[in-house]
């Protein structure tokens, strides 16, 4: 175990005491934490329940909503509520460096060459490829946009634009729209001039932007006509299509990343964690999951098991040709280093008229 903070604040002493009252850590069942909602429901059907049945493991589920707070609390209190968690690369890398997650013994999972190279990291096993895309309402848009540059074309599309609140994604989009090749984006952002250039490009559309906080807002706004074009998670757009709303997306300049399974250091059911991750990294199950939720598989054989019609709307193959990989070491280093400074700058920028 890593060092426990020298002096634990009164608050956490109370929290720890409550934890002791409610039972020691190893008394709980094997616990998996994921993103909740319909997403976790799909995972339950494809992964959790079948795993519980085949292995005879009793399991519990929890919801992780992103961010660092829960891992910080685990470090400070030594209470480990989860065995396996699914998370984004930035938290995965930070947690791996800080000793929150187990350094994996890959021989207990799958041969590493079976997975996409980017899905293999020291502490994480990639499980989905997700992406953000430019989306629009095909019933109301008039001319359909075709490229990322069109998002900045305020003559043809004078309406409002939905973008995610905060600097992340937006700075990358701005540079790509300004003609920077995806491969050069993070090198450019690592210079002060690059960041200035990104903000200057965002200035061009700033008066038209409506910032969303939750992923569900983008398809809602497009459907309601609140915005004409929007940055959105591709899975959300596919879900809206399933509900009969005629939303469409374009793959030019998509930013894609990988979510991974990780085993928490100090968790009581680490062996079950390995068994579960091996079970969930099966290409057939990953392909089955893409049917329920429109994210791409990480197993090399996964995409071949998906019907071509379905594969067309997944972040996989040719769809990612002009995209930017937001899960690279450069991207992670950049965002872990500059998140706070750029969030401050973004907050200031967005409040100025």
């Amino acid at each position: 175990m890593r060092i426990i903070t020298r002096k634990v604040g009164a608050l956490f002493a109370v929290a720890a005491a409550l934890g002791l009252v409610s039972g020691a850590a190893d008394a709980r069942d094997f616990t998996i934490a994921s993103w909740g909602g319909t997403y976790q429901e799909a995972q339950r059907n494809v992964y959790f329940t079948p795993f519980g049945e085949t292995s005879g493991t009793a399991f519990l589920e929890d919801v992780y909503l992103g961010g660092w707070a829960q891992f910080q609390a685990m470090q400070d209190t030594g209470q480990i509520p989860w065995d396996v968690v699914q998370l984004e690369t930035s938290e995965l890398v930070r947690g791996c460096e800080e000793g929150v997650f187990v350094k994996l013994d890959w021989s207990r999972i799958v041969p590493v060459e079976d997975l996409l190279p980017d899905a293999v990291t020291d502490c994480g096993v990639g499980t989905i490829v997700w992406s953000v895309v430019i989306a629009y309402n095909a019933d109301t848009v008039g001319t359909a946009p075709a490229s990322l540059a069109d998002f900045w074309d305020t003559k043809t599309w004078p309406g409002k634009r939905g973008m995610r609140k905060g600097p992340k994604l937006n700075l990358e989009y701005a540079l790509m729209a300004d003609g920077v090749a995806p491969a050069d984006v993070y090198a450019m952002l690592n210079t002060p001039e690059g960041v200035d250039r990104a903000f200057a490009k965002l200035d061009e559309i700033k008066p038209l932007v409506q910032w969303w906080e939750a992923g569900a807002q983008a398809p809602e706004w497009l459907a309601a006509g609140d915005v004409e074009l929007s940055v959105a998670y591709n899975g959300r757009i596919s879900n809206a299509q399933k509900d009969g709303i005629n939303l469409q997306m374009i793959w030019d300049g998509t930013i894609y990343a990988i979510d991974s399974w990780a085993i928490v250091e100090g968790a009581p059911h680490q062996d079950a964690g390995y068994d579960f991750i091996r079970f969930a990294t099966d290409p057939g199950r990953q392909a089955a999951f893409t049917k329920a939720y429109a994210y791409g598989p990480t197993h090399n054989d996964g995409i071949g098991m998906v019907e071509p019609e379905r594969a067309k709307i997944l972040p996989a193959g040719d769809n990612l040709a002009t995209g930017l990989f937001g899960g690279s070491q450069d991207a992670i280093d950049f965002w872990v280093d500059y998140q706070e400074e750029l969030t401050e700058r973004w907050n200031r920028w967005v409040a100025q008229n």
């Binding site: 060092i3 009164a10 608050l11 460096e97 706070e340 967005v350 409040a351």
Partner: protein, 409 residues
């Protein structure tokens, strides 16, 4: 004969009094304990987190000791470089150095990945001179600003979070100066928080005062119905009411549909994701906090007084200003303070209904606490908010004491 009897009576009395005060202490003991645990404890730990700075000194104790003694004027000597090499080497191997690197990153963005990269390549350094070897790995190790950042992080306590919360920073020579312009957002957020709270309060008074008057002066049945109308939303969860306002205010929401249908507007008004929406929802949520204390005082103002003033020749306005209003001031004061203080801490309503430039201080607290895990900064902003509320306490005391009749609290 009388004196000893009197003194024994005195002793008995004192004993009885002591027993009684002990019993009454026992009676309030659970409450006292409760307040200590849920109120004083968190505030103290909040204060503690805002100045606590243990990371670097925990992971790199030798480096911390050397840079603390160093004057910061010129690059430190070989011993400092040797300590850094050794402590990054062990810290990288047992995965403790990242927490210290994160702390250093607060001083200079990019310092974290610089330390981690150094850690990945540290095995290339096999012996002295460590200074040249470290600068060979990354030339920034030869830049004095990075060493000053290490000095500033050497702990175990720091003022950086508290200073940053008011847009200040400490320079390497110990002087306090304004933070660079692109990082000064906290005072602006504080001003915005007060500004929004002020307008919410103003709207609450304009709507709430006549409303409370109506409830207090109408017949029993009407006043009951009106009171129920105030109380009903009061009992509904804040989140539910906020979500309901989203439904009402959006572009194709009920309000806009009605306005379009009635021909009042030609195209939908933008009522949401801007300040207007925040005001509407916050005023609705906070109105009961003004109406209820006002109603409590107004009910006790005898209606005959206004008639008496009128019969003595006062015009309605004069009668209201000199007879009615002064008697309702304590209730108004209590209501105002309640509304103002509650609105200072609003989070979920501006987050869901406001745009990016309508967020208040609590938004920043949540951002630091949940997203980046920077509890020092989250605590410092929380203290800023707490102090703002504490500064209002004398105002509250003055207002409540100023009037006669009803006293709130």
């Amino acid at each position: 004969m009388t004196a000893p009897a009197g003194s024994s009576l005195e002793v008995k009395l004192r004993r009885a009094q002591r027993r009684r005060s002990f019993t009454s202490f026992l009676l309030v003991a659970p409450l006292l304990l409760f307040i200590l645990v849920v109120f004083a404890g968190p505030i103290l730990s909040l204060l503690y987190f805002s100045i606590d700075d243990p990371k670097l000194v925990e992971v790199m104790p030798r480096t911390a000791k050397i840079v603390t003694a160093w004057d910061g004027a010129e690059l430190p000597g070989e011993d400092a470089y040797a300590a850094v090499v050794e402590e990054i080497r062990t810290g990288y191997a047992n995965r403790t150095v990242a927490a210290a690197a994160m702390r250093l990153n607060y001083e200079i963005s990019g310092f974290r990945s610089m330390v981690m990269r150094t850690g990945r390549k540290i095995r290339r350094i096999t012996g002295p001179p460590y200074k040249d070897a470290l600068i060979g790995l990354d030339e920034r190790w030869g830049d004095i600003t990075y060493w000053r950042a290490i000095k500033a992080s050497a702990g175990p306590y720091t003022t950086r979070y508290l200073l940053a919360a008011v847009d200040l920073e400490r320079r390497w020579d110990g002087s306090v100066a304004k933070a660079p312009p692109e990082r000064t957002i906290y005072v602006e957020y504080l001003q915005r928080t007060f500004w929004i709270s002020f307008w919410v309060l103003a709207c609450c008074i304009v709507i709430g005062y006549p409303m409370a008057y109506l409830i207090a002066t109408s017949g029993r049945r009407t006043s009951r119905i009106l009171l129920a109308l105030v109380l009903l939303p009061f009992w509904t969860s804040l989140l539910v009411r906020t979500a309901a306002w989203v439904v009402l205010l959006q572009n194709k929401g009920i309000v806009n549909d009605f306005l379009l249908l009635a021909g009042i507007v030609d195209e939908p008004l933008t009522l949401i994701f801007n300040r207007t929406g925040v005001y509407i929802a916050m005023v609705h949520i906070l109105l009961p906090f003004l109406v209820l204390p006002l109603y409590a005082v107004m009910r006790n103002v005898p209606p005959g007084q206004l008639r008496a003033a009128a019969s003595l020749g006062a015009r309605p306005v004069a009668a209201f200003l000199s007879v009615y209003l002064p008697q309702t001031l304590p209730g108004l004061g209590a209501g105002c303070i309640l509304v103002f203080i509650l609105s200072l801490g609003f989070y979920i309503t501006p987050a869901l209904i406001g745009g990016a430039s309508d967020q208040m201080l609590s938004y920043l607290i949540a951002e630091f606490a949940t997203r980046t895990g920077n509890w020092g900064m989250a605590s410092a902003i929380a203290i800023l908010l707490l102090l703002s509320v504490a500064a209002l306490y004398p105002v509250y005391r003055g207002l409540v004491r100023g009037g006669t009749g009803f006293r709130f609290g």
